[in-house]
Amino acid sequence: MEFLVASAIGTLTAGGVYLILRLRAFPVILGISMLSYAVNVFLFSTGRLAVDAPPILQKYADVPYSDPLPQALVLTAIVISFGMTAVLVMFALGAYLEADHDRINIREDDEPEETSTEGQGA
């Protein structure tokens, strides 16, 4: 199981990093999602992997339990990474609609001089 989890984390991370380096909005979003899955699995495994052990301490019976804290951390991390990915999608969509292409890098020639002269609203 250790090997399976470790290689899953490694593969997800490698794929995520590769996709982020593509410099196009859609692969980057996928890459960030894969990275956050990788980190969630990784966080989950930081409390040591235990099968069939609930993360609850039993007061009356001496049964095995797994570390509850990583599960709480993962829960927070999942919520945050979902929210952040949603924000990223909105950003990418906005940037795509404004610029008509989804490249992440900004070239010198498409920097107009209008940084702070846009009108009201928007």
């Binding site: 930081t46 804290l69 952040m84 610029a99 992440i104 209008e114 846009e118 928007a122």
Partner: protein
């Protein structure tokens, strides 16, 4: 337990949803509420700093849970001074945004602003590494919104880069925390300090990995080489008042480095001995030069200021990387100074840009109040580049004095002096192009059709003047300020106070 400790987090956290849901259609109401909230926050911050002036570490146990199990907020001198700095800066930025109408150019400026304050204050006050991550995310998600406030093509695309960069950084942060938790079994900063200190030597490798990973994460936030590249694009394209507020965000990274690498991975901890200075010092030197060269090469005013922020972070981290109490106190002085200097310049740049219509560093016909803004710009530039009489000079002098005993003293002094020289040249070039060359062009086109309505009023200049005034106050009261900061640094390096204050109630939970 002093309940005021949590007020800097709770107050903006309660105000922001109100602003977003109740006051979103009434800009006047939102302005009043946001201003009142920020003023109250400043009052609380002053109170907390006064409370800490006597020394001692105050701990707030959320839900009254004892420390390693529950979440704690810790108020010591460092967090008090950082919260005070945040609230003063936010007052200036908020005034500027309201006076120039920036808050009305997009929706939800005030709500995002308050969320940002909540995140920053929380990051400064928290005593738990995972909570540090959570507050980082809170301040980041607010900063994403502020970054694209007002919209526009380039701003959105620069914002996209900023978000991607920070999401990658957040993932790395979680990896670092996971590694740390796997080896120590805790994420409470005080508990970590105890556990890392007592770490058996065969587990040290993973702790060192975690320490370096954390360093990379904080370096991204603090814009240190080689992960500084996101900053110029972001700050240069953010709305100017937001860029001024962001001046504190790089300091959140610096604060985290200072906090974690003195309390947890202190210089006398055998597990991680040496790794921080080894990496931080060269990175700081390169950052300093990267900033200085960027200032020299910038073609627009906003990137120029953004690069000067990078350079100032280099100077700051150079002092931090020495990891002696005295050097750290000089770093803190420079931190206070560089925050206000950057804010003053960004606010001023906004006024100049709104008069000129663009921020290109080319000669254009002079605008109204040309001389006045030239004077302000040079005052700001003097502060940023570190020339007398403003606090930049004292700050750099102190930093140089602080690293005097290090073996790499020559390198550090060369870097600071050379970096300052290049920065001065860059600022002088920009200033003469903006303000002096333009006067010679006045003969041809003095288009007065746009200029008549663009006179900058007194109210709009006040925040800039106040930020410059803070630099003057910092230099006049350099003595008391550096004494307070020396006590702060001593408190940081002697972490027994911090640890015992947080863990004092460790045994109480079972009763």
């Amino acid at each position: 337990m002093n309940h005021w400790i949590i007020a800097p987090v709770i107050l903006p956290a309660l105000l922001a949803p109100l602003l977003a849901f109740v006051m979103r259609h009434d800009i006047v109401l939102a302005r009043v509420a946001s201003s009142v909230g920020t003023v109250v926050l400043a009052g609380i911050a002053i109170g907390l700093t006064a409370l800490e002036a006597g020394g001692g570490t105050q701990v707030y146990f959320l839900g009254d849970w004892p420390a390693p199990f529950g979440i704690v907020l810790v108020l010591d001198r460092l967090s008090a001074i950082m919260v005070l700095l945040t609230s003063l800066l936010s007052l200036l930025v908020l005034w500027h945004a309201i006076a120039t109408g920036w808050d009305n150019r997009g929706r939800h400026f005030h709500a995002l602003f308050q969320f940002q304050l909540m995140g920053i204050n929380g990051a400064f006050l928290t005593g738990d590494a995972f909570n540090l991550f959570v507050f980082f995310e809170v301040l980041l998600i607010a900063s994403y919104g502020l970054m694209i406030h007002g919209g526009g093509r380039v701003r959105l695309r620069a914002g996209l880069q900023y978000v991607v960069m920070n999401l990658a950084g957040s993932t790395l942060f979680l990896f670092a925390l996971g590694t740390l938790y796997a080896t120590t079994g805790t994420l409470n900063i005080a508990d970590l300090a105890v556990k890392v200190q007592a770490m058996p030597s065969d587990d040290v490798a993973l702790v060192r990995v975690a320490a370096i990973l954390l360093m990379i994460v904080f370096a991204i936030k603090a814009a240190l080489f080689p992960v500084q590249f996101w900053l110029p694009g972001t700050y240069a394209n953010a709305p100017a008042p937001v860029a001024a507020l962001f001046a504190i965000m790089t300091k959140v990274g610096a604060y985290s480095i200072i906090r974690i690498y003195t309390v947890v991975f202190g210089p006398d901890v055998t597990a991680t001995q040496g790794i921080v200075t080894e990496w931080l010092m060269p990175a700081a030197v390169v950052t300093l030069f990267a900033g200085a060269i960027g200032v020299l090469g910038a073609k627009r005013l906003m990137p120029l200021l953004a690069f000067s922020v990078v350079g100032s972070m280099g100077t700051l981290m150079l002092a931090v990387s020495a990891f002696t109490p005295y050097a750290l106190s000089t770093a803190l002085y420079y931190l206070l100074h560089s925050t206000f200097a950057a804010a003053a310049l960004f606010l001023l740049a906004d006024l100049v840009v709104s008069q000129r219509g663009n921020d290109a560093l080319t000669a254009q016909p002079p605008v109204l109040q040309n001389g006045f803004f030239a004077a302000l710009f040079f005052a700001g530039a003097i502060g940023m580049a570190g020339m007398p009489p403003l606090s930049g000079f004292l700050g750099k002098l102190m930093v140089m004095d602080g690293v005097r005993d290090q073996s790499w003293m020559v390198l550090a002094w060369t870097a600071i002096l050379l970096g300052s020289l290049v920065t001065i040249v860059g600022f002088a070039r920009a200033g003469s192009m903006l303000f002096w060359k333009s006067t010679s062009m006045s003969a041809e086109v003095t288009g007065n059709e746009v200029e008549t309505e663009k006179r900058i009023g007194a109210l709009q200049v006040v925040p800039t003047l106040a930020a410059l005034g803070m630099l003057a106050i910092l230099s006049i009261f350099a003595g008391p300020a550096s004494r307070y900061l020396e006590a702060t640094a001593d408190q940081l390096f002697d972490n027994s106070d911090y640890v015992s204050a947080v863990l004092s109630r460790a045994g109480e939970g079972q009763e």
